[in-house]
Symmetry: C2
Subunit: 429 residues, 2 copies
């Protein structure tokens, strides 16, 4: 494309030419050539939206009014209730903000708040492009395989001390269970991080969009330890399978009116309010109930079982990976194969993923997309290429206190298993 004679915001030029796009384009090209592609790139829940939530959308299809910019009152109450019941948090409905996806709310936050953005890596793919578009400073803190890709309080404090400015306005984003690695923090770890955040008066954006996909149903929020400085992010996209519906939530501390208010003002000048029928439907998701809990229990045990199976295969094949605590990602490390890969001309994660895709049809995302250095041989695998409706129906037929039969994963999710086996074979070839 010839951009020579055009006039584009310089923060935006070149955005979007990401390795994700390259992997997608290459996938499409190979598929057109007749190659079988295992799509493990996009992080979309494979499960359907729970039936009662879909029914509510139908029942409210005629709702046509512009709703309050901060969100439907019943929904804000339901979100407060959800966090009280699930996370033991005291959130006031008037401090909840509903947006068309938590990604959009995150963008508004970065646009409105004037401060540096601190990101432990590996981190989700959109935080950094957002900061670039707006022109914010990004400070990365790289975690290690040995720490299970988790930021430690010690690391955080070291970094902050090095900046020589205790009260610089800062926003740190913590995402747990995490995209891209499914790891989560223990209560003790969160408490220590909270202590550092409090000392430096940082804002914590706690991205808990995968909280309800903690396999043991035991997600803990850092807002329990730092209620006065934590914004809790959630939404329908992951635990409720409704990514395409576009509904996210931010829950603010009571003393954050100074930030919530201008965010709502910018919302009113941009997306206005979230789709009315979807907001009515979302009430039923956040209020919850037996049907939703049953759905979650089945979703969790399917994901747990599949994660365990994949980790086994990968570890047996020499690929470094931790068993995740939740969500549907594995962050895998090929460093045991570095020498062999280097000989093939593979010197980093983008080349690793391109070569893997070309040679095997398995599409995964390079670690560099998650802000790891390009030389590192890491990648994210989203184990979502299976029929979630079928898996859910099969799981529902098995009493919740019984174990899955040994062939459950093979039966429900054979494409995932096949792809993971292909990865191992390829690495060892």
């Amino acid at each position: 494309m010839d951009n020579k004679h055009t006039s584009i915001n310089l923060n935006i030029r070149g955005i979007g030419q990401s390795p994700t796009l390259r992997i997608n384009e290459l996938s499409n090209k190979l598929q057109k050539e007749g190659k079988k592609i295992y799509r493990m790139g996009l992080g979309q829940s494979p499960f359907p939206v729970p039936v009662p939530v879909v029914e509510m959308l139908k029942n409210h299809a005629h709702e046509k009014d512009y709703l309050n910019v901060k969100g439907l009152e019943a929904l804000r109450k339901a979100v407060a209730h959800f966090h009280r019941q699930k996370d033991n948090l005291q959130i006031k409905p008037e401090n909840v903000l509903i947006g068309p996806g938590s990604k959009e709310l995150m963008f508004l936050l970065q646009l409105v708040y004037y401060g540096d953005i601190i990101l432990p890596t590996p981190c989700w793919v959109s935080y950094v492009p957002q900061a670039k578009i707006i022109g914010r400073n990004i400070k990365l803190i790289h975690t290690t395989f040995e720490d299970k890709w988790k930021l430690t309080a010690h690391q955080l404090e070291e970094f902050l001390r090095s900046e020589n400015d205790r009260f610089k306005p800062r926003l740190i984003v913590l995402n747990y269970p995490s995209n891209p690695d499914g790891e989560t923090h223990s209560a003790a770890e969160l408490e220590k991080i909270a202590k550092v955040a409090r000392k430096y008066e940082m804002i914590v954006l706690s991205d808990e969009i995968y909280g309800q996909l903690h396999y043991a149903g035991k997600h803990i929020s850092i807002a329990n330890f730092y209620p006065e400085g934590t914004i809790v992010s959630s939404g329908l996209s992951k635990w409720c399978g409704a990514g395409g519906w576009r509904l996210g939530t931010f829950s603010f501390p009571s003393n954050f009116e100074w930030l919530l208010h201008p965010m709502a003002s910018v919302a009113s000048e941009t997306y206005t309010s979230v789709c009315a029928p979807v907001q009515y439907a979302a009430v039923s998701a956040f209020v919850g109930g037996i049907a939703i809990e049953r759905y979650l229990m089945n979703v969790r045990r399917i994901l747990y079982s599949l994660a365990k199976k994949c980790v086994e295969i990968l570890q047996n094949g020499g690929i470094r990976v931790h068993m995740p605590s939740g969500a549907f990602y594995l962050f895998i490390d090929f460093s045991n194969f570095a020498e062999k890969l280097n000989k093939k001309g593979i010197n980093g994660s983008p080349a690793l993923c391109e070569k893997l895709l070309e040679e095997t049809g398995v599409a995964i995302l390079p670690g560099s997309v998650f802000m790891r250095s390009e030389e590192e041989l890491t990648a994210r695998l989203a184990f979502v290429n299976f029929d979630g409706s079928k898996a859910l129906a099969m799981s529902e037929a098995i009493p919740i206190n019984e174990k899955f039969p040994d062939d459950f994963d093979q039966h429900c999710c054979n494409q995932v298993i096949e792809a993971v086996e292909i990865i191992v074979d390829w690495a060892n070839k």
Copy 2:
């Protein structure tokens, strides 16, 4: 609110404290005190979403996938078809961008395009705050009552010549039929403006969200005269009554890939894609058909009849106003009463609207909100405070080639008539 110790983007501080908000707060306060309020402030269609479109939303309630960032292919085809059929425009589906409201798309456009924003006034309320948030220059061109609040090609050329820089990147926004005045340009006028735009190589954002609410069904797009430089904006909010659903469309010239592409990139880092069930439903709205045409014919004749009635009452009462060509607004001018109002301490539109509301319960928006000078005694009246479903049902019962009975407006829209009579009485008191 104490913002002293907070860190907020300076472009955003103070945004949202608009007269619209003040009028709304005052309305709520007076209503709580037991006063009857005529809400003619918010510009929302009073009509329901057409039945086949609501049915489509129900049928697609289960759709949960993230759709393409630019929009569902079937919808982009339907929008191209719509503009071909309605506006005689040749738009390619691949040049259509779907967003969560045309307001959000407008924001993306201002964010991505680096150029000055030219606005004829009176203009819609959100263009200027968006430019302020992003930090763009705004250049206002004030139109006159005598020109029916329409920008002339001569005015535009004068302004551009005065800037001494022919090829400065510029974006002009034209909105017709217009919010806040319902006026529209003739083909000859558009052709002249197009000639100037071409000479200066300006981008025209043609906001045609009210196009299908042209009373005679004869909306003409400037893209017919300046296809290579016009972006046409539309959406479901006004002609389809679905403001709360949040779906807008931008249709780009074929040579605008340089702009569409980065806008889509920013979309993918913000709202991601538009609500999937709503996109499926919107296909039926843009494809159209007999049910939609019938709906539009009835909506148009109801609005036309009511506009005519209101204009009659206002003009007979000495208030200056033009009969609009479409939409559901009147931009009224109290300058005939300037002396009398000044004596009451009313020296501009904000005071005018506050006093009117306090003394009569009629809530309308001051001309200053639409970027007219504060001293001017203008205001926008949205004649939408009636039961659109009832009016539609009554209109449908009358053959389309027959005239409405004389008491139709009084019967269907008595609150509107009452409020307009109150305004006249108040001005003449």
